[in-house]
Symmetry: C2
Subunit: 231 residues, 2 copies
């Protein structure tokens, strides 16, 4: 079976419960309820693990009620770093899970087609990630004020979520990270440590993450669009 792991354990230190970006209302519901809906609607997903902050269980149960989510779900409590939260989510996956689809809770526009194709690629190769070829010219800056260097954009990909893995593969990779006491920025970086190649799965549709309040404007545009296939 295939289990989605929605990482929704944003630190409470920076956002109080009323300021949590996952609970900002956009296009009629909280950000994280849009994200959840995508995996609720995806026929390839059998179970959903929500990795949350302790104490938020009731709030998420209320979401499930409000939006009539029917797919089986369970909770895991997030850890200090993202990799700890993912680890916790893996532990909470049903034991007959073969593939996991790890998703940012703050990425509410993910298209069904990219969820499905990333899962398919992970089933084939062990590890795959939703990605978009970088189309802007990319420069590096040491200071953030002036340009320091130029990069060859034809080799650059923006990786997003879902990041999908065979459960055994991502467990192996993340246990290696933990044993070595490393900090990785995303789960595909953990795969490098065990020599597991990661497939890039190009997505044709925008798949933004809410990182700042200003991102909500764009996300709202996407979510409100009635055009089939855009969101």
């Amino acid at each position: 079976m295939t289990t989605a792991i929605i990482v929704a354990a944003g630190q409470g230190t920076r956002f109080g419960p009323d300021r949590d970006k996952l609970f900002f209302e956009v296009a009629g519901r909280p950000v994280v309820a849009h994200t959840w809906q995508r995996f609720e609607d995806c026929a390839g997903i059998d179970h959903i693990v929500l990795v949350i902050r302790d104490g938020m269980q009731t709030l998420f149960q209320e979401l499930a009620g409000t939006y009539a989510f029917k797919k089986p779900y369970s909770f895991a409590v997030g850890g200090k770093e993202r990799q700890d939260s993912v680890w916790s989510g893996l532990d909470a996956a049903p034991s007959n899970t073969s593939i996991v689809a790890i998703q940012d809770g703050a990425r509410p526009c993910t298209h069904l087609s990219i969820i499905e194709s990333t899962i398919a690629a992970a089933r084939e190769s062990g590890a795959a990630v939703a990605a978009q070829a970088v189309t802007d010219t990319i420069k590096s800056s040491d200071t953030g004020i002036t340009i320091s260097g130029h990069l060859d954009r034809s080799k650059l990909w923006a990786v997003q979520t879902p990041q999908c893995f065979r459960l055994t593969t991502i467990r192996h990779a993340l246990s290696e990270v933990r044993q070595r006491g490393l900090l990785v920025t995303d789960d595909t970086a953990a795969c490098e440590l065990i020599g597991q190649t990661v497939r890039l799965v190009p997505s044709a549709f925008p798949n933004p993450k809410v990182t700042m309040v200003s991102d909500l404007l764009f996300v709202e545009l996407l979510l409100n669009s009635a055009r089939p296939g855009v969101v």
Copy 2:
């Protein structure tokens, strides 16, 4: 005075006149007419040079009539490479131009505030470019199929247009490019050759370029949005 140089000389080899992405209708008018409107509306721009393919003059004059553009404009004929087109545009700028704002014709959503702040930064420092901090995780791929390496995104910026310069500075930089027979991907890369630093000017609003037909969907969402400040 400040002159906008709108580079709208896309190769006719890949798009016939009916397939030119600049003339795709989106949100009620051709892409390039939206771009033109941004510079028409920007009080800091005194004159507009349109760099076009030879033979397209009448079509652009018709646009000016249809959309009632009042600001003085002139034409330059584009060259083989983008840098040749920019060079041609510089030659066509009024002789009392001190600052130029070079804009992709296919970037129709550029916000007025970023045009103004990029011009201001170029006036101060000689060269400045609209840019957005990269928020997605960026990986490199040698093959386009699997991930080859990881980049430190905290140092990465997506540069867009406008790219603004003192006219003397960009002339110096591009003449250096031409003398050395180089090919540069954008005008800020030319500045490196003459040791001119380029200021990054962060934009809070999406500023996409139309590169594929699928980009038009997102661009249309932005252009159709009535929310002030989004487009």
